[in-house]
Amino acid sequence: MTTPLFPAPDLPRPDHPRPDEALIVDVPGYDGPLDLLLTLARTQKVDLMQISVLALAEQYLAFVDEARTLRIELAADYLVMAAWLAFLKSRLLLPPDPDAEGPSAEDMAAHLAFQLERLNAMRDSAARLMGRARLGQDRFARGAPETVARTRTIRWQAGLIDLMQAYARLRTRDEFRPYAFDRRDTWTLEQALESMRRLIGYAGEWTDLMQFLPDGWSGTPARRRSATAATFAASLELAKQGRVELRQAETFAPISLRLR
């Protein structure tokens, strides 16, 4: 919003937006000052584009004066409009001030005429819309719509695994272990340590770590991996305890150990 051209009229003007319609339609029968102006304009009995805004301003001001003498309380809107129209009227009557900024009096008058015409057009359009052949009044939808039948098929999902797991769960409830692990293919660090402690006495010379893998654990990759890892970890533990020495020529080369 640009700065208003004219000083703000010292009329009461709520600077908060109206919360509801209650405050607005204070002139009985009129839906705001623009509506009142439109009604007054119609009394001129000319095309709204040909309206004399000057005459309209006078009509409006006369109306407001009349309301005052009748002690009708006018809402702030109407008073603001009155002030603005009084200003517009004076501008229209005076010769144009070449130094004046902003819209000319003619522009302002034209805009008011446009607003009135637009409101009028919308009002006509609303009437035309309401006058159309409306659904449920002039045009009808199918009175007995056929609802789409929904057939619900439930497909139960259960696989053999679910079934076996359920059974297994039931059958092993008694041997409940808080944490169970399938250890068939796992050589644990404890097992490796125990086994190496037994074997280490024979390793006076540098012996390849892989020699310490338990029997039968070099066949399948999974078992070999598990045994290798456990044995390696066990050898580190023994080295830490100072019981063995470890040696590796280079990265990825075989690791050897001997008793210390």
């Binding site: 009808f140 199918r142 139960w156 053999l160 076996m164 769960r169 092993t172 041997e175 409940f176």
Partner: protein, 216 residues
């Protein structure tokens, strides 16, 4: 009908036909000729209009049908399938149902008492009913023991669903163990929201006394 003078002649038959068409379309219930006549201009001939309309709609997607002594539009019977909505819902079996099914499969023929002994909780009638309704479990011969309890066995449809030639193909405990299925960690709730009903809770020890409430 009185002998009143008809102020206007009735509209032509094709207009009457349009009228009947609109009236029947908009009406919530079938309309009799009398209903139609009451709505149409005086002197109209709903019977003839209905006849013309019937011809016009013959073989269309919508047909004029007679319902008692009233008339209505109905979707052509052969197009009824268009109005069907097939909803296939996949649901997981509850844990109670899965366990009961497993027990029946492994131990059939099995009595309810035996199922309860294995599960450690009472088996609600609903669980077995559900399995029977699904066509996976059926009643077997009565056990020739005191009380002659009914036994339960699995059906061919069960074998079919689980891809088993016979229940002898079910893996034994050793094989289950080898397959890592005997991991007795508490099973994870693998289907959130589904199957996690109260029924699932019934193997929790804490719930044991409460189960009696539902036992049958």
């Amino acid at each position: 009908m009185t002998d009143e003078v008809i102020p206007f002649p009735p509209p032509p038959l094709d207009v009457q036909e349009r009228m009947v068409e609109a009236l029947l379309f908009a009406s919530a219930a079938p309309m009799t000729q009398r209903d139609l006549a009451a709505r149409m201009p005086t002197g109209s001939d709903p019977a003839e209009a209905l006849r013309l309309l019937g011809i016009r709609y013959a073989g269309r997607g919508v047909e004029l049908v007679r319902v008692g002594d009233a008339w209505a539009f109905r979707t052509a019977a052969d197009l009824g399938f268009l109005m069907q909505d097939e909803v296939v819902e996949t649901r997981r079996l509850s844990r109670a149902a899965t366990e009961t099914l497993a027990i029946v499969a492994y131990h059939q023929p099995v009595t309810r008492a035996e199922i309860e002994e294995i599960r450690g909780v009472a088996v609600s009638r609903g669980t077995l009913d559900q399995l029977i309704e699904m066509g996976w479990v059926r009643l077997g011969r009565r056990r020739q023991t005191p009380g002659r309890p009914v036994t339960f066995v699995v059906t061919d449809s069960f074998l079919d669903h689980f891809g088993l030639g016979s229940t002898r193909d079910l893996p034994g405990l050793t094989e289950l163990r080898a397959a890592g299925l005997l991991d007795s960690r508490p099973p994870l709730a693998d289907a959130p929201g589904l199957a996690e009903s109260a029924e699932d809770a019934d193997i929790l020890p804490g719930n044991e006394p409460g189960d009696d409430l539902f036992g049958d």
